[in-house]
């Protein structure tokens, strides 16, 4: 069954009504075409109203939509010759992160991304896209190789966060994340990071340091989940909607704060409506930014990356 989001209910209801009338027209002598056209105009307007005025909490729902395209969905559409490689060489292979090499419009690239599942079974296998240290270390290993062989790195961010478990702590979750942040700031190849769903905290940022941080229009990027913030601030996880607004976690807000570089538009109704069309929009963004970055000399690339990060923050002096 398709997941229906709260704010979309009027749209869905109207769509169902139109479908009903169409069936009725076909099966009876009564011609309701005029009525249908009227309703379709109303639907058009309603969709426009709803989808162009999404509130932060609506976007949170969209970012978490069960059918929202995942890293591997985009990889299949955007790249050729993708080979997935496994393991961190220290402990294991974390299915919450996928990594490998491929070609992007003919040029070699390294791809790293969080991977959640779309079914419960797959989600359990992939730990809901919440990595352990070995996932981050697998990512680091592939990015080191990209730097060695001079391949650009494309990162897809889609996680609620790093997994908060006992084993993760024992194996150095903090160190694994910290090392990625540090090393990514120094790889001498272009790095483009794209938030495609939820970008939760340090676990998201661990694949998010590069020359460009882009966000899909209805994705989120946050230091803490709205539920977590609400429970800390107001001792009430139920106030997540309010927290989502205060935390400024949407793409437009983060563009304004200078945290992200660009917003990738989504097709109306959200990325899950049509993967092929959405992938085209992601493709355009990657192509544009990659061609800008590929022109830069290595030293300039690193200097610009440092400038970008050293300028993020808000204070008076």
């Amino acid at each position: 069954m398709k997941q229906v989001l709260e704010f979309e209910k009027p749209v869905i209801a109207l769509r169902e009504k139109i479908a009903e009338l169409k069936t009725f027209t076909k099966e009876s002598d009564l011609d309701l075409t005029e009525e249908i056209v009227k309703l379709e105009t109303r639907l058009e307007k309603l969709e426009n109203d709803i989808y162009t005025n999404l509130k932060p909490w609506d976007r949170v729902q969209m970012a978490r939509h069960a059918e929202r395209p995942t890293t591997l969905d985009y990889v299949e559409k955007l790249f050729t010759d993708f080979l997935e490689f496994h393991g961190d060489r220290y402990y294991g292979d974390d299915a919450a992160i996928v990594a490998g090499i491929a070609k992007y419009k003919g040029r070699p690239v390294t791809i790293v991304g969080h991977q959640r599942g779309k079914t419960t079974k797959e989600n359990i296998r992939r730990n809901f896209g919440m990595p352990h240290p070995e996932g981050f270390r697998k990512a680091a290993r592939h990015m080191q190789q990209a730097a060695k062989f001079g391949r650009p790195i494309i990162c897809f961010i889609d996680t609620k966060g790093a997994f908060p478990g006992r084993a993760a702590e024992e194996r150095g979750q903090s160190e694994a994340i910290a090392r990625n942040l540090m090393e990514m700031s120094g790889f001498e190849v272009p790095i483009i990071c794209i938030v495609i769903g939820e970008g939760g905290s340090g676990g998201a940022l661990a694949l998010g340091v590069g020359d460009r941080l882009l966000m899909l229009e209805n994705s989120t990027f946050s230091v803490i989940s709205p539920e977590g913030a609400a429970s800390i601030l107001w001792k009430d996880g139920g106030k997540a909607k309010e927290a989502a607004e205060k935390l400024k976690i949407t793409a437009p807000d983060l563009k304004e704060l200078g945290v992200i570089d660009d917003i990738i538009p989504e097709i109306r109704g959200g990325a899950h409506r049509d993967l092929t069309s959405q992938a085209e929009l992601v493709d355009q963004a990657i192509a544009e930014h990659l061609s800008q970055l590929e022109k830069l000399d290595k030293q300039v690339l690193l200097e610009q990356r440092w400038e970008k990060y050293s300028n993020i923050g808000s204070f008076a002096e």
Partner: protein, 285 residues
């Protein structure tokens, strides 16, 4: 735990009822671990390490700096950075003002440089009395600048970390300080700089998962709690009772996450040895 130590509750048995009436509030301190009560001044001389049980209590940043650096040798960097309220978060400014009054600090980290037994070193000392030393824009900026100054001056950088994690009220700007500080560490590394991280209680979240874990050497004070996710969150996630020593410095040492655990009384001598060995240089032909 830290709160207990500084609480003014007088339920312990040591000073008599009469004595208590003569003692101004806060003159006595009770060890949060063994419960023994000491004069604050006596505890201060002991660097807030309990003489009875050895428990390491919170050490204010100014006292740590005073104790570690040679007398008259140290100065402070970037004293004029002021925290804003970029998200317009309700009551954030008031909270900052309250902690500024309480601690006399402007923000949760003090940075600067001085000499440790003659070795010139840049430093950053976080102070968990201020907003649990959570990392906002000013904390990230001051630490990055201190690392940059160490790089430019070609001197070592020592950081004493303490933090509850991210400064939630600054949202993603807080998160990005992890990237900024880590990028500064990378530049420092590329230049061959020596970085020593000493984690003190507590070091969590975004601080643990950035510069705190990125020293060439990572140490911790005894009993310090260190981790990415907090104990309660982990317990709720895995629905399992965790061992008492979970996320202590000793637990991390046993799991290969630290170079060693160093007693506060030995810190200056220990750091001096490391600085000395690195001053002698590698590449001896």
């Amino acid at each position: 735990m830290l709160k207990d130590f500084f609480s003014k509750k007088k339920h312990a048995s040591k000073p008599s009822e009469e004595a208590k009436q003569d003692i101004p509030e806060g003159l006595m301190l009770k060890c949060s671990d063994c419960g023994k009560i000491y004069y604050r001044e006596e505890m201060r001389k002991q660097l807030y390490v309990c003489p009875n049980c050895g428990h390491h209590h919170q050490l204010p940043s100014d006292e740590r700096i005073n104790n570690l650096f040679d007398e008259g040798s140290f100065m402070e960097y970037d004293t004029d950075l002021n925290t804003g309220n970029p998200l317009g978060f309700p009551s954030y400014t008031q909270k900052l003002e309250k902690d500024q009054l309480k601690t006399g600090l402007k923000e949760a980290v003090v940075t600067g440089e001085g000499t440790i037994n003659g070795f010139r070193t840049a430093y950053a000392v976080m102070d968990s009395r201020f907003r649990m030393a959570s990392m906002g824009s000013v904390v990230g900026e001051k630490i990055s600048r201190a690392i940059e100054k160490a790089r430019e001056a070609n001197i070592p950088f020592i950081i004493f970390t303490a933090s509850g994690g991210a400064r939630m009220q600054e949202g993603a700007l807080s998160l990005m300080q992890m990237a900024k500080t880590s990028a500064a560490v990378q530049r420092f590394r590329d230049a061959g700089g020596l970085m020593i991280s000493v984690m003190t209680n507590p070091t969590y979240g975004g601080v643990s998962a950035s510069f705190a874990s990125l020293g060439d050497y990572n140490f911790a004070e005894p009993g310090a709690l260190i981790g990415f996710a907090g104990r309660r969150v982990v317990e709720e996630t895995i629905r399992e009772k965790l061992p008492d020593d979970f996320q202590t410095a000793e637990f991390l040492l046993a799991h290969g996450q630290l170079d060693d655990v160093i007693n506060r009384h030995d810190m200056k001598k220990y750091l001096t040895t490391i600085l000395d060995i690195h001053q002698a240089g590698g590449n001896v032909s």
